[in-house]
Amino acid sequence: MAFQMGEETRQVQATWDVTTYNYKVDGRGIKLLADGMKDKKILGIRCHNCGTVYVPGPPFCRKCYIPIDEIAEVKDSGEVVSFAVEMADVRGNPLDEVRVSGMIKLDGSDTFINGRIQVDDWHDVHIGMRVKAVWVPEPQGNLSDIDHFEPI
C-alpha cells in the first residue's frame, strides 16, 4: 500500500520564549539627559571638532568618528521638522482622541526628538511651527518629565 500524503500541510504552533537577552548598552548620554531633566534642563553632547550637538549624546561623533564628551545644554523650545496625527493605535483601533506627535528639533540641537504636541485643532499643526516643552509639576529625572509640547 502506498504512503498517503495529507491533503494539507499541518500547522504547528511555536512560542519563542526560550531565553532572556542581556544587552550591554552605552547609557551615558541617555542618563545625562534624564538626570538633567530633574532640573528642567535638556543636556546633550557637543562634538568639539565639528560643533554638532546631539540629544541624547552619543559617546562618539557620528560625523567625525572621534570620542566626544563636552556637555551642551539646549533649549526646551524648538521647531517641528515633521509630524503625524495618530488616528488609530498600533493594532488599528481608532483612537477616541487623535494625537499629534512631532519630530522636534530643539533650539541649539542638531538632532530631533519625538514628542506629543498638544493643540486644540490638529489642522493648525504645520512643519516649521515653533513649540515649547510643558514640564510636569514635579520632575523626577526621567524622559516623562516633559509631558508634551505646545505651540509658542
Binding site: Y23, S82, A84, N114, I127
Partner: protein, 410 residues
C-alpha cells in the same frame, strides 16, 4: 568586470496573505521549480546560490541551509543575505557580484517571505530592542502618549513623518497619495502575481480610514506569502542558455545613519531626506553610462511600502525634478501606457512578501524588457532601460539596479 544578465524568473503561483497548503520550504521550492521550468535549465546548470529573507520574521534562523534540497543547493556554494526591505535586491546584487567578478558563471538568486507563519512586529522590534529597553528604563513612553521619545503608530508612524515631510517639501497634496495608490492597485489588478488585485478608484482609497495623517489604510502595503527565483549568467553563458536576456548594466546601494531609529543617540536625518537614494542611484547611473535618467529610463519599479513613496523616489532617483512627481502623476505620465510607467506590477504597495519585494522590482523590469510579462501589465512602449529600486533597513538603506535590453560596452 564581466557583463551579467537575468536569463530567467520564477514566481510562486500566487502571492497571497496565507499559503496554508505549503510549508516554508515547499513554498520557496515552487519558485525555484518555476524558474527551471521557465528557462529549461536544471540544477546542473547552476554554479552557486544566493538566498535572502528577513531575519527573525519566521523565527527560522538558517533557512538557506534547512531548505538546501528544496532550492536545489546540495553540493553547491550558498550565501544568505539579509539587509531588511532591500534583501531581495541585495540577494540579486550578490549574484551579480559573483558572476561579474568571474568566480561563477550561472547563479540562482532566491528570495521569499511567508509572513503568515511569523510575526513581523517581533522582527521589527528586534532591530532596536536594547535601545528601546534602555529608553523605557529612563521613562520613555514607548507608544508616544507622553514625554520625549516614543515612536507612536509603529512603522506607519515613522512613515507618516516621512510622508508629511515629503508633502511639505514637494508641494504635493494628500490627494496625490490617494491617486498614486489607486493607480498602483489598478495596475496590480492586471498582474496575476500581485496580492491585492482590485481595480481601485481614488474614491475607494479615500473611503479607507486614516491610520496616521497623512497616511490611510489604503496607502499601506499588505503582508504577503510568496517567493521569487531568478537566474543570472555571464554574457558567454547567456548566449548559450537563453533566448532573451535583461542585462544588469548598473548597481548601487548606500546606507545613511540609522535615521528615525536612533532615538538613543539623537535622530539626525529627516526620513524624507533620502540622500542615500541619490548616492546609490548616482553609482548605478555611472556604471550604466546614463547621463540624463529622466530621458533615458523607460520604466521604473520602485519599493513603496506606502503610496507616497513612489512619488518621493521618482524625485530622489532623478527621474524628475524635486517637487514634480505629482505633476507627472496628474499628467498621466506614470500610467501603464504613459511615458514613464511606474510600478506597472502594482509595486510593493500591492504585494509584499518582504524578502522578495526588492527582487521583484528587478525581475519585473527584466520581464518587461524581455516582453515576457504574464498577465495584462506589459507596458505598450518598448523598454530599453528600466530602473529597479529597493528601500528599507531603518528607513535609510537603498539599492538601485539598472536593467537594459543591451549589455554594457566594456
Amino acid at each position: 568586470m564581466r557583463n551579467v544578465g537575468i536569463i530567467g524568473v520564477g514566481y510562486t503561483p500566487v502571492f497571497v496573505s496565507k499559503r496554508k497548503d505549503v510549508n516554508l520550504a515547499e513554498m520557496v521550492s515552487e519558485s525555484v521549480e518555476a524558474v527551471f521550468r521557465n528557462t529549461g535549465l536544471s540544477p546542473d546548470d547552476i554554479d552557486a546560490i544566493t538566498f535572502g529573507n528577513m531575519q527573525t520574521f519566521e523565527g527560522v534562523n538558517l533557512p538557506h541551509l534547512l531548505m538546501s534540497e528544496h532550492i536545489r543547493a546540495v553540493d553547491k556554494p550558498i550565501i544568505r543575505i539579509a539587509t531588511g526591505g532591500t534583501t531581495g535586491m541585495s540577494t540579486l546584487q550578490a549574484a551579480y557580484y559573483y558572476v561579474a567578478s568571474g568566480i561563477y558563471d550561472v547563479v540562482l538568486a532566491v528570495s521569499w517571505e511567508k509572513q503568515s507563519e511569523g510575526d513581523s512586529q517581533v522582527g521589527l522590534a528586534g532591530i532596536v530592542m536594547p535601545e528601546a529597553m534602555v529608553m523605557v528604563q529612563h521613562g520613555m513612553d514607548l507608544l508616544g502618549g507622553r514625554g520625549m521619545g516614543g515612536m507612536g503608530g509603529g512603522s506607519t508612524g515613522a512613515a507618516a513623518y516621512q510622508a508629511m515631510s515629503y508633502l511639505h517639501h514637494s508641494g504635493a497634496d494628500p490627494e496625490h497619495i490617494d491617486k498614486m495608490a489607486a493607480l498602483e492597485r489598478s495596475n496590480a489588478a492586471l498582474n496575476p502575481y500581485a496580492h491585492l488585485r482590485k481595480k481601485t478608484t481614488v474614491e475607494d482609497v479615500q473611503a479607507t480610514p486614516f491610520i496616521s495623517w497623512p497616511l490611510r489604510y489604503g496607502h499601506t502595503c499588505p503582508t504577503s506569502d510568496g517567493a521569487t527565483a531568478c537566474i543570472v549568467a555571464s554574457e558567454e553563458k547567456a548566449a548559450k542558455l537563453a533566448d532573451k536576456v535583461a542585462w544588469i548594466i548598473g548597481v548601487g546601494c548606500c546606507t545613511s545613519d540609522p535615521s528615525t531609529a536612533n532615538f538613543i543617540e539623537g535622530q539626525m536625518t529627516d526620513p524624507a531626506d533620502q540622500t542615500v537614494c541619490k548616492i546609490a542611484a548616482k553609482k548605478a547611473y555611472e556604471m550604466a553610462g546614463i547621463e540624463d535618467p529622466a530621458k533615458e529610463i523607460d520604466l521604473a519599479e520602485l519599493y513603496d511600502g506606502f503610496a507616497h513613496q513612489s512619488l518621493m523616489w521618482l524625485e530622489k532617483l532623478g527621474l524628475c525634478k524635486e517637487g514634480e512627481a505629482h505633476k507627472l502623476l496628474d499628467r498621466g505620465v506614470l500610467n501603464i501606457d504613459g511615458d514613464l510607467p511606474t510600478n506597472p506590477s502594482g509595486g510593493v504597495f500591492s504585494t509584499n512578501a518582504i524578502g522578495s519585494s526588492a527582487m521583484n522590482r528587478a525581475t519585473e523590469c527584466a520581464l518587461q524588457i524581455m516582453r515576457k510579462i504574464e498577465g495584462e501589465h506589459q507596458v505598450p512602449k518598448t523598454v530599453k532601460k528600466a530602473l529597479a529600486h529597493g528601500w528599507g533597513g531603518l528607513f535609510q538603506y537603498v539599492t538601485v539596479m539598472i536593467l537594459s535590453d543591451t549589455p554594457r560596452k566594456i
